[in-house]
């Protein structure tokens, strides 16, 4: 394990999209904009702002256009929009996102559940999205949901992952996100999968999107870093969830990720204190406890006054 050679770990906050879409109560549009503006100044490299999914499927993101129009963009932050299909692409063009994100499940059962399409049909649809993006000079990031495990099919063979990665590659995509959609991956799987992908596609930038459902997200990120992945999705306050594991945590919290990177002297450029101040606001906004260890316990370097008298053993 050596981390000396790493210049920068890029952090993308996916809270405004992947996080908020799990919130049942509608978050007012101006609050979404405020949140994104605050994240923009925290030092994150990118923000997944919203999605052009049909409002009937995800009513929370019905205000995608207004949000994209009214946020204050920072030049050092990439603003992305999730584009699920051709119709979404046409809707997304005027939004002037820096990047479109595709989301495609590499397993048949999940692909059908999510998009009502087979893997091949879904890839064909994404080809049309990529074409529209290219015509409008917008970069596209491919996304591989269930690449590290599927709630319906279980463990996923590397061949399935490779199949989608190759399809993306042949569409000209050079940035691919690998997702542990239900938080079931372990460090060995993450390490071997990412090592193989990087070996196969040396000119592709890979990112990891890891849910913390089973408490392994930070261990998986450590494995990812060791495999050579330097782009990570995270969600402010750990917003988001998993429809297949009730009561489970969602995305790894951005503050938990940045806190670990800071302690390891891995530079992300993100200001942890700003994140913690934002997550306080987020907790008020969503009206429930956040799944963020640092939000709950405070950073490691927070000292306490030594007691005068003897206290209980806490070993």
């Amino acid at each position: 394990m050596s981390w000396q050679h790493i210049d920068l770990i890029k952090v993308k906050d996916v809270g405004p999209r992947d996080g908020l879409q799990m919130e049942k109560a509608f978050i007012p549009t101006e609050e979404k904009i405020k949140l994104i503006n605050a994240l923009s100044k925290s030092g994150v490299s990118a923000i997944q702002v919203t999605s052009v999914v049909h409002p009937k499927a995800v009513p929370q993101l019905v205000d995608a256009e207004i949000v994209m129009k009214n946020i204050e963009r920072q030049s050092n932050v990439k603003y992305s929009v999730l584009v699920p299909n051709e119709r979404g692409a046409e809707r997304a063009v005027p939004m002037q996102a820096d990047e479109w994100e595709l989301m495609h499940s590499v397993t048949e059962a999940h692909c059908r559940a999510n998009s009502n399409k087979s893997v091949d049909e879904s890839l064909k649809e994404h080809e049309k999205v990529v074409k529209i993006a290219r015509q409008n000079n917008i970069t596209v990031q491919g996304g591989m949901a269930t690449a590290l495990g599927c709630p319906f099919e279980g463990r996923v063979s590397f061949e399935r992952v490779l199949y989608t990665a190759e399809a993306y590659y042949s569409m000209g995509i050079r940035h691919i996100g690998v997702a542990d959609t239900i938080g079931c991956a372990d460090p060995k799987l993450v390490y071997t999968t990412m090592k193989q992908l990087i070996d196969k596609f040396p000119d592709v930038e890979f990112s990891l999107h890891l849910h913390n459902t089973r408490g392994m997200a930070l261990a998986n990120i450590l494995a990812g870093i060791n495999a050579g992945v330097f782009n990570y999705d995270a969600s402010i306050g750990g917003l988001g969830g998993c429809p297949y594991a009730p009561g489970a945590t969602g995305n790894i919290a951005t503050e938990d990720l940045v806190h670990m990177l800071d302690l390891m002297d891995l530079h992300s450029g993100v200001n942890l204190n700003e994140l913690l101040s934002i997550s306080k606001d987020v907790e008020r906004l969503v009206g429930h406890e956040l799944e963020s260890a640092i939000h709950r316990a405070g950073p490691s370097y927070q000292l306490h006054a030594a007691p005068d008298a003897q206290v209980k053993l806490d070993h």
Copy 2:
């Protein structure tokens, strides 16, 4: 990262002592015995049964003698008792534990808070304990609390860790537990600390005791395994806590650790299903929600039925 050469990761459950001592309501003695008997059959290598600390300091463990006398011991499980001082040692001799565990804070402020002694005074006291153990043919494990961070002094220099390790070594101790008492350590610190300790003391068996206060315990265990540590403490249901971080999680849950090891094909000999059945009982016993990801979300390999119709995006 390579995990091919590892034969066995030994798991010690410290729930009955380190976990239960944080519970405010008294757990009936027969329930403690039932819990230890169940853990004995789960495949864990060792159980930290109780402590001979003064009952005024930890009323929960007032029944140490009765518990030690009435548990059904399994030949493949080591039963240990925490022995804080000479008086405790005299009390512990008739209990016939397989091992005594020392607990000594490597930082002055924490040492004084915990034992009302300086580091040197505490080590002298432990020398007396070791002598009594030797006279009675009992193995001793040295414990280094705050070795990976102190709530009062913050980051701890390796020299402080080395100072206690050398003292233990010169007492003849060849098994030393390194504790992240307040769950503030990061994988880089764990890796470098353990690498250095193993290099300095090649004939000492080291174990790691990691709290999950800031969500990093599994990442730290991964770093520990990579550094060559194959003994881990864990607590059923994640029992335990941290008096300095209210609302924070305690020890890494045994089921969360075993679940990750299982997925990584690292053999621990522990049966995850048995652990999950025990943690259900533990939740009823302590009467509050457990801080265990697998208890909450279920194991990764748990499949779900694919829905008939299209469902919401869960990327």
